[in-house]
Amino acid sequence: MKDLLLKVEGISKSFGSVRALNNVSFEIFQNEVVGLVGDNGAGKSTLIKILSGNFPPDKGKIYLSGLKINFKNPIDARKMGIETVYQDLSLCSNLDSISNLFIGREIVKSFMRLKILQKRKMEKKTAEVMKKIDINIPSLKERVEFLSGGQRQSIALGRFVAWGQNLALLDEPVAALGVRETRKVLELILKIKKEKKLSMIVISHNLQHVFEVVDRIIVLRHGSIVGIRNKSSTGPDEIVSLITGAIKIKK
């Protein structure tokens, strides 16, 4: 049995009269990729935002490696080793790969109260990370607006490879990508799992992609979990019926 990494217990969240999440509980184990699926408005993004520290839940508890956690902001979550790859990738298209990898984490040396960038160290570390995930970017000093969608995505994932210690939350990692680049990113996810022994939660609308990379699937519907399935014991048909509500769950 694998070790427990994240335990979510009875989380609820409302926005005004809208109940976005209703008593959600699940567990994530170490070195496991979990798919989070559901229709639009099922509460996937709310759940991810709670886990990444964007806002607290109204009710419920979250444990990371057995410790109860209480994130006040995304920085807290990041300090605990939870890295979020946002849908818009949080890239600055005006900057190069190095600056993008290091946003908010620049390597600096203090000199007369000025924080001087250690550019050479940053470039070296970027090259290392890109080598680790086997991504070839022609020039690290090229602005990322000139890179392909897959290369941009790999920089966003590179942040997780470089700093993530526990869990990555990937929000629609391949939504904006072409066929070949999608393939590359899916391979990258499997590679990170295999080599870095990290866990990931992947949100995607594309069940084919989900089935390719995940170990388990959590299905959300109207803010509640309607099913948690092992990949080996289920198929796309069952997941679709869970998402749409064709299968009624017994209370």
């Binding site: 995304p74 900057l95 908010g104 000139f146």
Partner: protein
């Protein structure tokens, strides 16, 4: 396969070359202009004229640094002109002794400098506070403060100018090294410092990140507010310093002394390659933009061309710069 790869590589290299040329086009134009002016205009090819071009760049040059920082962070500071103007008349008013339109305080020039800098800091703070607290666009906030401060400058002396200040006020202009005044050297030193800060410090990196993608800045825990405060306070400081230097050079001030500077500053900054959308620009380009405007002004002066035509030429240059800015995007 091989041919496809080769042509692709070739077109990529061409695009890179195209981008590189466009990014540095201001330097090309500057060199071209100076060569053409020097060979065709009598009296242009002269070391004293070049020194003049440099020293006439000082005020626009310092204000352009302030504006560049604001624009790169994705903001805009229209108040630079009126802060400089207010600082000019305020310092002259404080330092003036017996003149009827001055305060009669006969204040030491360096104390007036400190007071001006404090005013610059306060204006920068107010600008950024309003932008951050009420989430109003920088354009609207600084447009208002621009008008208010301009009004305050005129109200201070009732529209009258102050002249004939003590000689001690003029030291920054009268101290010269190889005929280059201290004001010009101050400008160059400020360029070096601010170039370094923008390029090599975490603060500079954060300015670019905020101008490029403010959501990314928030997501990765950058203290956006603190960076914006600093940018506007620096802008106020540099503008106030500029005003004080203007008084020192002119040995006096009038309330409308910096009128029209805003347009010139924006022209220089855009010519220098700073994007109005934020996140893009470098101070070397801005410096070239400032020198370009100054060298054109000098050429028009020597040829004694009507100032109205000057405006037409300057306006066309800005239009040209904006077109270059959008052509750059074709080279993606």
């Amino acid at each position: 396969m091989d041919i496809i790869l080769k042509t692709r590589l070739k077109s990529q290299n061409l695009k890179k070359l195209g981008r590189g040329t466009l990014n540095n086009i201001v330097w090309l134009i500057l060199i071209l202009c100076i060569v053409i002016f020097s060979s065709t205009i009598d009296g242009y090819f002269n070391i004293r004229n070049y020194i003049n071009i440099l020293s006439n760049s000082a005020f626009i040059g310092i204000l352009a640094i302030a504006e560049s920082y604001c624009l790169i962070s994705g903001n805009l500071d229209l108040s630079v002109e009126s802060v400089a103007g207010y600082s000019a008349i305020f310092s002259a008013w404080l330092a003036g002794g017996t003149l009827y339109s001055s305060s009669g305080l006969n204040m030491n020039p360096y104390i007036t400098l400190c007071l001006c800098l404090i005013i610059g800091i306060v204006v920068g703070f107010i600008n950024s506070y309003l932008i951050l607290k009420f989430k109003i666009s920088a354009f609207l906030v600084t447009l208002s403060t621009y008008i208010i401060i301009k009004g305050l400058a005129i109200a201070l002396t009732g529209g009258a100018g102050v002249s004939m200040l003590p000689d001690s006020f003029r030291l920054v202009d009268t101290i010269r090294f190889f005929n280059i005044s201290l004001i010009t050297i101050i400008m160059i030193v400020i360029y070096v410092i601010f170039y370094f800060i923008l390029k090599n410090t975490q603060f500079g990196a954060h300015i670019f990140i905020i101008g490029g993608n403010i959501n990314a800045a928030y997501n990765f825990g950058i203290n956006v507010k603190s960076v914006i405060y600093k940018v506007f306070i620096l802008s106020g400081l540099l503008s106030a310093l500029t005003g004080w230097l203007m008084t020192a050079r002119a040995n006096g001030a009038s309330p409308t002394m910096a009128s029209g500077f805003l347009f010139e500053v924006l022209a220089a900054v855009v010519l220098g390659g700073v994007s109005l959308q934020g996140g893009v620009g470098s101070l070397t380009g801005v410096f070239a933009g400032v020198l370009l405007l100054s060298s054109i002004r000098s050429a028009l002066n020597i040829m004694a061309i009507s100032p109205f035509i000057t405006e037409v030429i300057r306006g066309s240059l800005v239009l040209f710069a904006i077109i270059i800015d959008s052509v750059k995007r074709l080279f993606k």
